[in-house]
Amino acid sequence: MIVFAIRRAVLGVLVLVAVALMVFVAIRLIPGDIVNQQLAEAGAVTPELLQEKRAAMGLDKPIAEQFLVWAGGIVSGDLGHSLWTGRPVSAQIGAALLPTLQLSIMAIALGALFGIGAGVLAALWRGTAGDMVLRMLSTVFLAIPQLWLGLLTLTGLALIGYYIPLPYRSFATDPWANFQQVIFPALALSLGVAAALSRLTRSAMLEVTGADFIRAARARGVSSSGLYLGHALKNALIPVITLLGTQFGNLLSGTVIIERIFNVPGLGNLLFEAVAYRDYTVIQAAVLTYGLITIIVNLMVDLSYGLVDPRIREARS
C-alpha cells in the first residue's frame, strides 16, 4: 500500500512537470508579450526600449534557460515575482489558495451529501413518484451551467432583498461574514456534483441490492436500514468515489466562474486577472497550482479505494 502510494505520487510529480513545461512553452510561443503591452500602455514603443525591458525581466534568454531558472525557483519555493506589480507570486498564490480550497471542499461535501442521499432515496423508492422527481431533478441540474446557477442565486437573493456582505472576509477574521460569503457559491457549485453523484449512486445501489450477499444478510435478519446503509451503500460506494474524483475537476472549473460571480478572491480570480494583464509568472503559478490540486485529489481517490474495498488493499500489497 505504501509502495503503491509512493509510486503514484512520483507519477503525479512527473505529470506536473509535463504540465509546467507545456504551460511555460505555450506562453512564450504566443506573440504579444507583457513588455509590448506595458510599453503600449505607456505610449512609447521603441525597439531599444523593448530589448532593455526584456533583458531586465530575463525574457531575452533562450526558453530552455528560462524554464530551468523558473523550475529551480519552484523547487526552492520561489515562484518569482509578478511581472506587473512586482509582488512575490508565492504570497499571491498562498492568499488565493485558501478561499478556493474552502469553497471547493464545502461544495464537494455538500454535493456528496445531497447526491448520495438522493441516490439512496431514489433506489429505495424505485419506480415511485419520488424516484421520478429525484431523477428529473438530477437531469436538470446536470444541464444547468454553473454560470447561470450562480447568477440565478444572486438574482434570487437580490429579489428577496438579501445582499451578501462585502468585501470578502476570511474565516479567521470574521466567521459569520465568511460563512454568508461562501455558503451560496458552495451551494451553487454543489448541485451539479450532486446531480452526477445521485444518478450513479442510484444505479450502483440497485445493482448491489440484487446481489447474493444482500439476500444472505436479509436472511440473517439484518434490519432494512442496516442493510441499506451498512451493506449495500458501502459496496456501491466504489464507483461513486471514482466519480467524486472526476467531479472535483469539474468543480474546480466551476470555481473559476463562481469566484468571479460572488467576488471570492480565490485562485480563479487571480488567474483571471493575471490573464487580463498577461502576467506570465502569476499565470504559470496559478495554472500549476490547479494541476497540483488535481493530482493530489486523484492520489487521494486512488488511496481511498483501498480503505473502502479490502480486496484492492490486498491486491496492492
Binding site: 505555450a26 475537476g249 469539474n250 495554472v287
Partner: protein, 290 residues
C-alpha cells in the same frame, strides 16, 4: 456496445438510419430531438424571427421588462434581448458544432492510433493526454483563449483542446477492445494496411461511442463558450453571445432579472436537449443499459 451492430451490420447507411429510428422510438430521445430541432430552427431563422436588430440601440427603451413588443425585455442600452438571445444561440451552436466535429476527427484519430499501435506511440500520446487532463477544463480553455486573444476561432481552439483528452481516452480503450476481434486479425492477414483497417473497421465500430460522447461534448462546449465569453476572453462584443449577455446582466442583477433569466434559459435548454439525446443514444446503442 459492438454486439448489436454486428447483428445487423451489413450496410453502413442502414445502420445510421437504424440508430436514428431507435432514437425516435425512445420517448425521451424523441422529445429531446424535437427540442433541439426547435432551438436549431430559432437560431437558423433568427434573421426572419427576430423583430429587432440585435445590435441596434434604442435610447428610449432602456431596461424595459418583457412586454408584447420586447418579448424578453431590453438591456441597458435598449437592445432587444429576444433578438440577442436568438443570435447568441446561433454563435453558441456554431461553436459547439465546430468543437464537436474537430474533436471527433482529431480525438478519434489520435485515440485510434494510440489504441491500435500501442507500444511507445501509445505511451507518448497517453502522457500528453494525461498532462492536458490534469488541468481543470475551464482553466485550460481560459489559459489558451487568453493567450490567443478573443475571437470565435480561438474560442473553438480553446474549447476543443480541453475536450480532446476524454475522446482520446475513450476511443483508445474501445479501439483496444475492437482490435482483439478476429475480423481485425483476418484483415491484417490478408494484407490490409493499418490505415485501411482503422477506416473500414475502426470508424464504423467506434461511431456509436463517438455519437454518445459527441452529444455530451456538444453541451459542454456550449457551456464553456458561455463561460469564456462571460470572463471576457470568448466571443468578442458586439457579437451577441449568451455568455457576454449574462456578464452584462450582472450589473443589473436585482433590477433587471430578465437579462439573466432568458440567455441562461436558452443555454440550459440547449444543453439539456443535447444531454438527453446523449443518454437516449447510449440506451439505444447499448442493450445492457436497458
Amino acid at each position: 456496445m459492438t454486439t448489436i451492430l454486428q447483428e445487423n451490420a451489413p450496410r453502413r447507411g442502414s445502420r445510421t438510419l437504424a440508430i436514428f429510428k431507435a432514437l425516435l422510438s425512445d420517448p425521451i430521445g424523441c422529445t429531446a430531438l424535437v427540442i433541439l430541432t426547435l432551438v436549431l430552427a430559432l437560431a437558423i431563422f433568427a434573421p426572419i424571427i427576430a423583430q429587432f436588430d440585435p445590435l441596434v440601440q434604442n435610447r428610449r427603451a432602456i431596461l424595459q421588462p418583457p412586454s408584447l413588443v420586447h418579448w424578453f425585455g431590453t438591456d441597458d442600452i435598449g437592445r432587444d434581448v429576444f433578438s440577442r438571445v436568438l443570435y447568441g444561440t446561433q454563435i453558441s451552436l456554431l461553436v459547439g458544432l465546430m468543437v464537436v466535429i474537430i474533436t471527433m476527427v482529431i480525438g478519434g484519430l489520435i485515440g485510434m492510433i494510440s489504441g491500435y499501435f500501442g507500444g511507445w506511440v501509445d505511451m507518448i500520446i497517453q502522457r500528453i493526454v494525461e498532462a492536458l487532463d490534469t488541468l481543470p477544463s475551464l482553466v485550460l480553455s481560459l489559459f489558451i483563449a487568453a493567450m490567443l486573444g478573443p475571437s470565435v476561432r480561438n474560442v473553438i481552439i480553446a474549447v476543443t483542446l480541453a475536450q480532446i483528452p476524454r475522446f482520446v481516452r475513450v476511443v483508445r480503450s474501445e479501439t483496444m477492445k475492437i482490435r482483439g476481434h478476429d475480423f481485425i486479425s483476418a484483415s491484417r492477414v490478408i494484407g490490409a494496411s493499418p490505415l485501411r483497417i482503422m477506416l473500414t473497421h475502426g470508424v464504423p465500430n467506434l461511431m456509436p461511442t463517438m455519437l454518445v460522447l459527441g452529444s455530451l461534448a456538444f453541451g459542454i462546449a456550449i457551456m464553456t463558450e458561455a463561460a469564456l465569453s462571460f470572463l471576457g476572453v470568448g466571443t468578442p462584443p458586439p457579437n451577441p453571445s449568451l455568455g457576454t449577455m449574462l456578464s452584462q446582466g450582472t450589473r443589473f442583477i436585482g433590477q433587471a432579472p430578465w437579462l439573466i433569466v432568458f440567455p441562461g434559459l436558452m443555454l440550459t435548454i440547449s444543453v439539456l436537449a443535447l444531454n438527453l439525446i446523449g443518454d437516449a443514444l447510449r440506451d439505444v446503442l447499448d442493450p445492457r443499459n436497458r
